[in-house]
Subunit: 211 residues, 2 copies
Amino acid sequence: MDQPQDGAPDTAGEARDKTPRTERGRRTLRKLLDAAAVEFGERGFHEASISGITRRAGTALGSFYTYFDSKEEIFQALVRYMSEQLRDHVTPLVQAAPDEISAERIGLESFLGFVREHKEIYRIIDEAEFVDYASYRRHYETTVARVRQRLEAGAGRGEIRADVGEIHAWAIGGMNVFLGMRYGLWDEDADISEIARIANDFVANGLLKRN
Amino acid sequence: MDQPQDGAPDTAGEARDKTPRTERGRRTLRKLLDAAAVEFGERGFHEASISGITRRAGTALGSFYTYFDSKEEIFQALVRYMSEQLRDHVTPLVQAAPDEISAERIGLESFLGFVREHKEIYRIIDEAEFVDYASYRRHYETTVARVRQRLEAGAGRGEIRADVGEIHAWAIGGMNVFLGMRYGLWDEDADISEIARIANDFVANGLLKRN
C-alpha cells in the first residue's frame, strides 16, 4: 500500500542542483509551479502534460527542462510547494495569536480561507497518495509536526494541559483537513469564522458539559 | 474538482437489478467484492483488471458480468461494501457502550482495529476521489452522519454538551481518519487501546487544563 505508483521516483529527484540562481529564474520556476497546480488540479496527474503546464505558464518547453526532468518531478515539487505555501499563509497568523487556543482557531480559519482560494490543494495532495506516496506522507507529517510543536509550546507556557503530544496533533490535523473539505471545498457559503469558532470551542473544552 | 475521472459512471449503475436472489449468488457476489478489495488495494484502479478480480475470486468471468457491467461498476460497489463493512464492524460495539463519551472511544478503537485488518481501505476510499467522486463523498457523508446522530442522541440524554452538531461530527470524523492512517495504517505496533484512550480524553475534555 505504500509504494509509489506509475514509475514515480521514490527519492527526491535532487541529483543535479536545479535551484534557480537569479530572480528571473525564481520567477519562471514559480510560474511553472503555479501553472502545474492548475494543470494537475483540473486534469489530474495522468491526463496532465508537460506541454499543458508550459502553455499555461507561458514559458518555452526548454524552461521546463531547466528545472524538472519529468512530469513526476514537477508533481513532487508541486506537493512540496503547496505544502510550503499553506505553511507560509498560516504560520504568521498563528504566531501572532495571543495564546495557543486562539492559535488553533486562527490556524483553522486561515486554513479554511486558503482552501477557498486554492481548491486544487485537496486534489493535488490526495493524488500524491497514488503518484508519490513519500511526498503525500511527508506533507502530513510536517504539517502535523507543526501542530505538535505549537501544542507543546502552549503547554510549556501553561496555556493548555501539560500532557499534549503527537496523538493530539494528529487529531487536530485530521479535524482541520475534514473541516476544510466540508466547509472550504464543498460549501462555498459557510461562514468560516463561525466554523472555526465552534470547532475551537470543541478543541478547548471537549464534549463534556461545563458549568 | 468534483467530476468523476476516466469515464466512471456518475450515477449508481442500478439500471438493471443485479441483486443476487439466492444464498449462493450472495456468496459469489461477496467473493467478487473481497477479491476486488485485494486487486484494487494492491494494484490501484488503473492497473487492476476484471480478470485479476475473477482469478482471485476463483469465479468464472461470466459470474462477474452477472453482477457488474464494468471495472468502474465493481469499484463503485466496493466503496459502498467497504463503507458498510466498516459500519457493521463498528456499530454494534458503539451501541453497546454505556454512554456517548465511551461510544466515541470504542468507535475509534474499533476503527483502528478494522484498519489494521483491512489496510486496503485507505487506498480504495481515497482512490474513489479520482475514480468516482460521488462514492467518495457519500462514504464520508454517511460516516459523519452516523457520528452526528450519536452525538445528538448523547446530548439528548444529557451525557454531553447540548450544542453538538454537524461541525463536531466532521471534526471527530477527520480526527478518526487521521489517527487511523497514523496508528492503524503506518504504525503496526502502536497500542490502539491507548491511542483511543488518549484521543477520547481529548474529545471529552479538550485542551484546556482541568482541575
